[in-house]
Symmetry: D2
Subunit: 214 residues, 4 copies
């Protein structure tokens, strides 16, 4: 079992709460309220800016093949998710929301880890996001009806797409290589980072799902 697979097993309950979250279930069935989706997308905009910053630090700290990978991941995130958000906002318009609690604490956690940690810390802290979105795309896009709102289809499709699946697999491969032969104490610390990021992923969906315009 790969190190990330072990991490996932250690947080399995939270992981399943993400994959089965009503936000995602309703989105795939096309019945999610537009308001909740817009709130989510705006929060994910803030998250993506902090993710780009985190990847910048990863580029700075990594060497060799991981450095090149980090540059590709950065570029594909800009060309992929960030561009997908822009396309949705351009087409449909979207309300402005300020940065919410979960995006704030998740971003602070990523950036603190990036500045204080080493390459493997940064790679691991990014895994819950990439890996859960990959699984969301894989599972939910095939189930999604043809007649759900086009924005929801487009969103699901981009995580089910070949580019996203490939870059996530590369991330997992690099983690696997870097985590080989690490001592038990480091293993535990890294599992703690994975657990925290998974918990914040869960809270991200939860905050968006329970959002209500005042």
């Amino acid at each position: 079992m790969s190190f990330i697979e072990e991490c996932k097993q250690a947080v399995l309950q939270d992981w399943q709460k993400i994959l089965n979250h009503p936000f995602l279930m309703e989105l795939a069935r096309g019945v999610l309220s537009r308001e909740k989706f817009e709130y989510y997308l705006s929060q994910d905009d803030y998250y993506l800016q902090d993710l780009l910053s985190t990847l910048g630090i990863l580029v700075a700290k990594a060497q060799g093949r991981v450095k090149d990978f980090a540059i590709h991941l950065l570029y594909e995130t800009l060309q992929g998710e960030v561009a997908m958000h822009e396309a949705i906002k351009r087409e449909k318009g979207m309300e402005f929301f300020s940065k919410g609690e979960v995006a704030t604490i998740y971003g602070d956690f990523l950036l603190r880890t990036a500045y204080e940690g080493d390459v493997l810390d940064i790679l691991v802290v990014l895994c819950p996001c990439f890996l859960s979105y990959k699984e969301i795309g894989e599972r939910l896009f095939p189930q999604a009806g043809k007649d759900i709102p086009s924005t929801y289809r487009f969103w699901l499709e981009s995580y089910a797409g070949e580019a996203y699946q490939r870059i996530t697999n590369e991330l997992l491969t690099h983690v696997g290589e870097e985590a080989k032969d690490i001592p038990e104490r480091q293993r535990k610390e890294l599992t703690g980072l994975f657990r925290r990021a998974t918990w914040l992923e869960y809270r991200f969906w939860e905050e968006s799902y329970t959002f209500r315009l005042e």
Copy 2:
């Protein structure tokens, strides 16, 4: 006169010593010793790794359009210069040299500035490299004979190419926008960073030109 133009005027003597450096004159005429070129290229490999790290920090610190630009600059540096170096080494083979004095102090200077400074500091400290290489490509590629070693032509061509010219112009545009309305004290500090980086560019050529295999 743009801010970077002012900076250039302030260091004009060193700037001209770069543009007219015998290393470059001999390269354009095709008579530069292969040994010196290989030493230069190996040192520039070290420099490029530190440049990628510096750009990573720029991505992390920048926001909005400068952040997007920094990601593109990072990606194009990997796809452009780094790939060009790999192509030369693959084709011709190359001796291994350890990191020399100038690449060491230049890299340390870039990374310290990146971690301590703000976005404009980082943009300015990168200008002497990009701008002098752009001018080298512009001036020397058209003069270069068709019969000079293909590696030297290929090298010159890549800095004369449209992609390098465009990305450098974008860098200058961003500096111009960020440097608008800055107070005099900051202007002086930034000019100091530009001066130091220009001096290190000069020393880079000088070290490579005076290199001798033992």
Copy 3:
């Protein structure tokens, strides 16, 4: 009105919720549950380690008189609050608690700000902690009965003491000097940092007060 006074006015409601928090009211009357106090103190241990780290970055980024001040603040925090915690734990023993949610997000916020921000950002983000504890010491120590538990008296006394009052006043003086003549946009950003830190101070007390051993 000083800049920090303006910040305080902008968050006055939260400020008063801190100063009048039942945790503090009960502590000053000597009726706070020992369990809640121990939980608070353990969380403040985690906070203090992150505070020391934040002050370390401040030392690194500051120059001149602010750099010297940051070194003194760091040293006095170690000799003051950290030593006070050690004394309490040595004398009374204390249960072990892991890092709670509020200490985690507050620490992440401080460290992210420290690495990304400039000297004034770091100074401002520290103010809600130092200033509210100074006010707590000033107001509550004189009211505290002689017969409240000695640990609670000792704790209150250390924030009412001359050393803590002086160092906090010096902090405010430095913020005042650095914040003179800053543009409106920066003023707003700094007020945002002050607001966030004040909110986290409030939640710190709230989390400790609502803590229950399972």
Copy 4:
């Protein structure tokens, strides 16, 4: 043999060139030109500011006993060396010199290492400075004549003093503990950092000794 003793053996030639440098020989005999001493002291002012910054980052990155030690080292450097410099300048006046080449590249090297490296990297990179000054104080102060200029005596005395010797020994103890059981590859990298810092110590003396007012 301790790890740092091994490092010292690896750079023994440079180490002896420091301990026997004419700058120090002439200083101990009282015949060093005042001009060279003033240039040295001004450069060491710049170095000390960068040293304080480096120690700040060490505080931020370290945990437990090393964090406490780093705070003490920072404080004692301010109260010791920095205050000693201030005393000399107050008493004797001193010319202003701008930051020279060696102080610049040494400072950049320290700060880059501090931001990029881990706790042990930072501890090791500081050793050549502390350890060589400790040895300078130990050896040369007892030899120094009573009639040499009082400034030179005062300077030597401060490195021969109990406080400096103790703090340096503590630094070496911490390095010894942190370096226990590190893999060979890390050992080599750390030796490289030690070597570079030793070389810069040597060049520091050399630059000051060859300094001439224009």
